[in-house]
């Protein structure tokens, strides 16, 4: 599989998984894609994880950010956790990157 194709697939799948309330399945797709990439040295797991992040956030952008940010801000207010409207987005971004990066590292551990 060509590397850019893997990135596109990961982005699209992340978008779809986010839409069906299961963005974390992108962890599995990151694993399989990195497993099947031929030249693992030419692609970093970080690219796959960024593709995942773009996919998830693209879904949120398409379906509206304003209400999401307001809800995040309200959560921050109620819980007393600083971060305001960005709080949950930052957490989500870190979570997506870390988990998909680790999954792609696992997938790329295998070689011929």
């Amino acid at each position: 599989m060509k590397n850019y194709v893997a990135l596109v697939i990961q982005l699209v799948l992340s978008f779809i998984f986010a839409a069906i309330s299961m963005w974390f399945i992108a962890i599995a797709s990151a694993f399989f894609l990195s497993f099947y990439i031929k030249d693992k040295r030419k692609i970093s797991g970080l690219y796959l994880s960024i593709a995942s992040l773009i996919g998830v956030f693209l879904y949120m952008a398409v379906t509206g950010f304003t209400a999401r940010m307001a809800n995040s801000s309200l959560f921050s207010t109620i819980s007393g956790i600083p971060g305001g409207s960005l709080l949950l987005f930052i957490i989500l971004a870190v979570e997506v990157i870390v988990t998909t990066l680790l999954a792609s590292l696992i997938g790329s551990s295998f070689y011929k």
Partner: protein, 854 residues
């Protein structure tokens, strides 16, 4: 195939750790994965929105179709008109759920004692208490007793169906924020749930509370003559009873029970270990673990008690109006919260067109008007709770002694689920004189009139249809039993009345102001018969009124409690009502918004006289006080000075009693108005004493400082204490705020805010300068006031369609909406809205305009 083992293993381990952490609940919060889910989590793109304007719908049930019109107004009222009454209540349930689902869930869970299940350990104490009150069991009995064909049953079940229809229409992504934050789903409603919420409201409106437990300490530690002096059952100062002897002597004829009671001596003596048990029962329940509290300090969600501190209502008839019509005004003083404890409706269906407010979780309108009558309520302050110390013996386990025999406690085993902690097993015991609140070392039972099933829901639904004062009175006397209210009513025929009807318990012996012996000698033997209950109907003076003052004159034959307000609001209302003629809507509003503190009529002349004698009559403080009219406006400097002086005067007068008789915090000091609680300047006996003594007995021995044996330690009089209080006030003010200037203005010190119904401080509104204090008709209790007129209504029954009203807050519980608190500032500024706007569709004019159908 080869494998890079190090990378593989390390990555696997890290991924598992990250996923585990992400999927674990975080204290009271859901997991990170759940919270951050873009489709269903907190950052999903949904929130509760308000759809203003008209909408039309049909609902079909069992082959019958209800045509429904909904008109959502920005003032927080929702108009619903339906050609089927069942459709009306169905839609009311739907609309209440649409705008107040979180609030209703909390109310229901509080009533059922299941709040800790979603909130965590901080709600265990609340759950225990309401399980002990047996709300669920009583609601089940009430449900079983309701005829399936009765108006009430049909209304409640349709109402619950409407709520459930809304809940079922929601996807998890659309759940309101608190459900997501606390990670639980809204529960469906049934008839029992609504009746359990009824029990909660009745409890919140029941006067007496736990006062007798703590007042018992005064009874047992103070000499009888001192108890008589500072805690009289009937205050001697200025009082304008709601039903004075002069206006209804007929209810004063019976022999009653008050002559048989010993109201100044204890019937039971509490020892230290019992006091400790009582204190631990009423102490704050355990909250979040400290490490968690540090992280989420404000996430201590709880049920915000209503704190029913006072209210006003009055009605005037043709004697007081030029056009011979009757008018009514009402402003119940409850917690002013966001979301509001009220939600407003205009409800139209065959036979009714009623507008006003109701507690979320309840169908109908409880305070409002229809084309024929208008009504309002204030708390009757009739003692609804009596406490008993049960007699037990190791030889008779699980039994108590009553009327010469050993009886078994009835026992109910309950398990309270607690989020994030182990379940709490609870054994609820009940004797024939109440539920056991504290079981060791001596079981203390509380008898409450609400432990007997009652059907106030019938009263609420029937009053919406009432056509005149007589019908209203009959309805109240039949159905409204608990949480007694002073119901003021005015009808289109010019009649007025006030009816504090309900269950007034009668005992034959003992002291109901403290803890009674549980041996049966002081059990309730019945209730005051309706024919002997206080009421006024078209009194000769042309008005009826109540401001939580004393209900009756001092020769009323029954003991009814002593938890009345100071009477200053009542004094001001009486003054304005008796001196005003030609009443119209504007004059009613002027009274309702009055910020004159009548206590200034009593204390200020004495203070000014003292200051003149002390040669301070040229001081700027004296000049400010001397030129002041007693109105607590936000720019008054004298108001600030007077307020703090009065607080000091009360404290300096009564603090020595607390010290001499060892009334410490553990015995209620600072918690109750009778023990110098924060409300002592407008509530309870101490301010009444001070008023009476200052006016009539400035050299009373009760100004002296006593020793614990009742002997006098230091001689004082009113003037010496007033002077000390004045010097203390000036000294503190100058030290903290400089010499008298605009920085002393009342509005710099006294503000209002709407507090979060859920106890989340960060969701409170900002505070704004506010006129009034705890003694003004436009009441604003405390310095950052979140209690006061929770609903203002003025109705002229010659033109009821132009009725006025407002409640603080807004329609929705969603803090992100502009309709969360949009009425707050207008309400604080004294704005009224026309409850039925001229732009409403014709259906909403049903019964006002001939030929219109709902």
């Amino acid at each position: 195939m080869h494998i890079r083992k190090g990378r593989f293993l390390l990555s696997i381990i890290l991924l598992v750790i990250v996923l585990l952490i992400s999927s674990m609940p975080l204290g009271p919060l859901p997991s990170i994965i759940s919270m951050t889910n873009p489709s269903t989590g907190i950052i999903s793109p949904y929130n509760q929105s308000v759809s203003l304007g008209l909408s039309y719908m049909n609902v079909t049930q069992n082959g019958s179709t209800a045509h429904i019109i909904i008109n959502v107004q920005s003032d927080g009222l929702i108009g619903i008109a339906s050609d089927k009454t069942w459709g009306l209540y169905y839609e009311q349930g739907y609309q209440e759920a649409k705008y107040r689902l979180e609030q209703m869930e909390f109310l229901k869970r509080t009533a059922l004692g299941t709040l800790a299940q979603v909130v965590g350990p901080s709600a265990i104490g609340t759950d225990i208490f309401f399980r002990q009150l047996e709300d669920l069991q009583i609601a089940e009995q009430e449900n079983a007793n309701l005829s399936r064909n009765s108006t009430a049953y049909i209304a409640i079940s349709e109402f619950a169906d409407g709520i459930n229809a809304y809940i079922k229409s929601l996807s998890p992504a659309e759940y309101p924020m608190l459900f997501k934050i606390l990670d639980f789903q809204p529960s469906l409603w049934n008839v029992t749930d609504v009746l359990a919420v009824q029990q909660l409201f009745l409890w919140e409106n029941s006067a007496g509370g736990v006062d007798p437990i703590y007042f018992n300490y005064a009874l047992q530690s103070m000499p009888e003559n001192i108890v008589k002096g500072i805690y009289p059952v009937y205050p001697e100062g200025i009082q304008h009873p709601i039903v004075p002897y002069s206006l209804n002597p007929g209810i004063y004829n019976e022999s009653g029970n008050i002559g048989n009671l010993s109201l100044y001596t204890p019937s039971f003596v509490i020892n230290e270990s019992e006091m400790n048990s009582i204190n631990s029962y009423f102490a704050d329940p355990p909250g979040l673990p400290s490490w968690l509290s540090l992280l989420w300090q404000d996430l201590n969600l709880k049920y915000a008690a209503f704190k029913d501190l006072g209210s006003n209502n009055w009605a005037v008839n043709g004697i007081k109006t030029d056009n011979r019509s009757a008018l009514l005004a009402n402003d119940p003083h409850l917690s002013t919260t966001v979301p509001s404890i009220w939600i407003g409706f205009q409800l139209v269906s065959p036979g009714q067109n009623v507008v006003g407010v109701i507690f979320p979780g309840f169908p109908g309108i409880i305070l409002g008007h229809n084309p024929f009558i208008a009504w309002g309520a204030t708390n009757g302050q009739i003692q609804q709770t009596y406490f008993y110390a049960e007699q037990i013996s190791p030889d008779h386990p699980y039994q108590y002694y009553s009327n010469g025999q050993w009886l078994h406690f009835s026992i109910l085993n309950e398990t309270i689920s607690v989020k994030g902690a182990n379940p709490v097993n609870l054994q609820v015991e009940r004797a024939n004189n109440g539920v056991i609140l504290i079981s060791k070392p001596t079981p203390i039972a509380m008898d409450w009139t609400g432990l007997i099933p009652s059907y106030e829901i019938n009263a609420v639904l029937n009053m919406d249809y009432a056509k005149n004062v007589t019908q209203f009175r009959q309805n109240i006397s039949e159905w409204f039993k608990v949480g007694i209210q002073n119901w003021a009513v005015a009808d289109k025929y010019g009649n007025i009345g006030i009816f504090p009807y309900g269950r007034y318990p009668i005992i034959e012996h003992g002291n109901p102001r403290g803890i009674l012996p549980g041996n049966g000698s002081s059990n309730w033997v019945g209730f005051v018969p309706v024919s002997q209950l206080p009421f006024l109907y078209d009194p000769s003076n042309g008005f009826v009124f109540s401001s939580n003052q004393i209900t009756v004159s001092n020769n009323y034959p029954y003991y009814i409690g002593w938890d009345q307000e100071s009477g200053f609001r009542a004094d001001q209302a009486y003054f304005m009502l008796s001196t005003t003629n030609g009443f119209n809507t504007q004059k009613m509003e002027d009274i309702q918004l009055s910020v004159h503190d009548y206590s200034t009529n009593v204390f200020l002349p004495s203070l000014l006289s003292l200051l003149r004698r002390e040669g301070l009559n040229n001081s700027p403080e004296y000049l400010a006080l001397e030129s002041w009219n007693g109105n607590f406006t936000i720019n008054s400097t004298a108001a600030t000075l007077y307020h703090f002086w009065l607080l000091n005067y009360i404290n300096l007068t009564f603090q020595p009693y607390m010290t001499a008789f060892n009334i410490t915090e553990g015995k209620g000091y600072g918690q109750f108005s009778f023990f110098l609680g924060s409300d002592d300047y407008y509530h309870g006996p101490l301010i009444e004493d001070l008023m009476n003594w200052t006016l009539n007995y400035p050299n009373s021995i009760y100004f002296d400082v006593f020793n614990s044996n009742g002997s006098i330690k230091e001689y004082r009089n009113a003037f010496s204490i007033m002077s000390e209080a004045y010097n203390m006030t000036i000294s503190t003010m100058v030290k903290n705020y400089g010499i008298i200037s605009s920085s002393w203005q009342w509005g710099n010190f006294h503000k209002r805010e709407l507090s979060s119904f859920f106890g989340v401080n960060s969701l409170n509104t900002s505070s704004i300068p506010a006129p009034g204090d705890g003694n003004t008709l436009n009441a604003a209790y405390g310095m950052i006031s979140s209690f006061g007129p929770s609903w203002r209504q003025v109705v002229n029954m010659s033109n009821p369609i132009n009725s006025k009203g407002i409640y603080p807050g807004g329609l929705t519980e969603n803090p992100l909406s502009q309709y969360y608190s949009n009425n707050f500032v207008p309400w604080n500024n004294g704005v009224y809205y026309t409850l039925i706007p001229s732009t409403v569709p014709a259906e909403f004019l049903y019964l006002y305009v001939e030929g219109v159908t709902p």
